[in-house]
Symmetry: C2
Subunit: 152 residues, 2 copies
Amino acid sequence: MSDLKFRIKAESENPTKMKVKARGFEFTIDEPKDLGGTDSAANPVEYLLGAFAGCLNVMGHLIAGEMGFTLKSLKIDMAGDLNPAMLFGQPTEDRAGYKNIEVKLRPECDADEETLEAWKLAIASRCPVCDNLKHLTPVELKVKARQIAVEA
Amino acid sequence: MSDLKFRIKAESENPTKMKVKARGFEFTIDEPKDLGGTDSAANPVEYLLGAFAGCLNVMGHLIAGEMGFTLKSLKIDMAGDLNPAMLFGQPTEDRAGYKNIEVKLRPECDADEETLEAWKLAIASRCPVCDNLKHLTPVELKVKARQIAVEA
């Protein structure tokens, strides 16, 4: 199969609020007030968990179909621990991002424990977002500024 | 500073569509029709890019403030290449997730090129989502199934 290219375009509405466009869809990201935001939407690290959950849902259903069991529904609880010290430029030995992400898959299904263990391992190895979190992903940042007049 | 815990709860609406709850906020994830979905929302890997953009926006404004320049607005274009072969269980030597993520930061500001280079490097090192993408993130998957009757 050949590569697919996915794209988004985003624009700040204020220092913490951003509107994101992906194809014909839009979503808004913000920060809660205690992280300096205007609390109008979920925040970036919550969207990261949500993206991961959405990917696990797609993979969970796809692989259940391949394995021939009935997956009636899938609930996912997810949590991660993050020290905001690095983000705020405070001295810390902690990393900037999540130190760990814990995922509980709650399938409603007719599969036995052994089948579900194989299902889980297949999901973990084939889920794109899981791969980008668990392994190194090359990121290239470029800046193209538009200059405005220096304020007096 | 002490760790913060972020959480989401998600529930499938169909095999590709998932509703995600984070605090009081909700968002929906789906897949386009050509990836087997019902095309009602952005897909997981688009949300991953959006989460990253939202985090870069917060960091960009925070660090511009620390550096003392005016950041009037920030636009971000982002794209990534992904081979869906692994996802679909096809033979491939490619990884499951994005092979690379390209980010264009488009600040409207009064900073010179050297300042913007330092700004970019500080963002890259302090942005939580950037850290989770660029470096290894431990992920723990657990399964807790609810059994339903086997279909005849």
